[in-house]
């Protein structure tokens, strides 16, 4: 079975933040609780854009606070095509 979008995104986030995917709770605040910074958020965004062939406006960066919210954002962007 192909990995779910949730697992894929969690893997990308974990790689950028340099943590184990299993240690990142889906609703944990990435900056306040997981230790990410704004540049990491940007790297996550760049990786998502490349992987899913989507374009996310820069303004959406500040909404990328948890893995769940990132998943939501990617799904919306993919529907928009």
């Amino acid at each position: 079975m192909a990995p779910s979008i949730k697992d894929e995104i969690l893997e990308i986030v974990a790689t950028v933040i340099e943590k184990e995917a299993g240690d990142i709770s889906l609703d944990a605040h990435l900056v306040q609780e997981v230790g990410a910074d704004s540049m990491m958020a940007l790297e996550i965004l760049a990786a998502l854009e490349k992987k899913y062939h989507i374009v996310v406006p820069e303004e959406r960066l500040k909404e990328m606070t948890t893995v769940n919210k990132i998943i939501q954002m990617v799904e919306t962007a993919r529907k928009r095509g």
Binding site: M39, L42, L45, A46, E49, E58
Partner: protein, 253 residues
């Protein structure tokens, strides 16, 4: 590498591209193989002529009428450039104005106009480009400051302040984005033969000319060639610097 390949197929923006130093920069970069989008505010005729000259030479450029002091205008412009050329590799912040006056007669509008265009314009353009550069982990910014921003020039309190601000912006931003393979440098032209210098009295021009060790005023190409150097791989290990291009006028910091 030949000069006409230094920026082969690179895509870049030059603010204030129709006149003086900006025009020379646009032409130099196009001749080096770059695809250039330039901004201007008033000079419709000059912009059209420049586009024609570039087309006649078999290259492509894009013009955009808009004021760099407006943040949203800059954002729009950058998005348009990316959509049109399919990417963005570098930015040259050149747009600048003067409102020279004795300080006691300088109005707050004279101050605000010069700071807004020269310094805030740099912020607006750089901020509009930086996310693209960060994402691609590649980018290059060259800001045009002035000798006036290093040593100060009487009757240019506003201009000197704006150009000194550009130097601070350059140094701070260079440190911040260097880990992302983005270089930020700044050029401080001395006396360059442009409209800006043309407004000086002949007497004063002679005095200034005699003060230049190389014995002549610079021409816009002297600056354009330095921009090309800073944008090309030839300067790969240079960032956060202020390069004085002034014929030897200032030989220390």
């Amino acid at each position: 590498m030949k000069n006409n390949e230094l920026l082969k197929d690179r895509i870049g923006i030059v603010s204030g591209g129709t006149r003086g130093i900006g025009r020379a920069i646009v032409k130099e970069l196009v001749a080096a193989g770059a695809k250039i989008a330039f901004t201007y505010v008033k000079s419709d005729a000059e912009a059209k002529k420049l586009l024609q000259e570039i087309a006649a030479a078999g290259s492509e450029a894009l013009s955009f009428k808009g004021d760099v002091r407006d943040y949203d205008t800059c954002r729009d412009f950058v998005e348009q450039v990316k959509a049109y050329f399919g990417g963005l590799d570098f930015l040259v912040n050149n747009a600048g104005i003067t409102r020279d006056k004795a300080f006691m007669t300088m109005e707050k509008e004279d101050w605000k106009d010069v700071i807004d265009v020269n310094l805030t314009g740099c912020f607006n353009m750089a901020r509009s480009c930086i996310v693209t550069f960060l994402k691609q982990k590649e980018g290059n910014i060259v800001n045009i400051s002035s000798i006036s921003g290093i040593s100060g020039i009487a009757r240019q309190v506003n201009y000197s302040a704006s150009k000194a601000g550009i130097i601070g912006l350059t140094r701070a931003l260079a440190q911040e984005v260097a880990p992302y393979n983005i270089r930020v440098n700044c050029i401080a032209p001395g006396f360059i033969e442009t409209d800006m210098l043309g407004i000086l009295k002949e007497e004063l021009k002679d005095k200034f000319r005699r003060a230049v060790p190389l014995g002549r005023f610079g021409n816009p190409q002297d600056i354009a060639k330095t921009v090309l150097f800073l944008l090309s791989e030839q300067s790969n290990y240079i960032t956060g610097q202020v390069i004085k291009v002034d014929g030897g006028l200032h030989t220390s910091n």
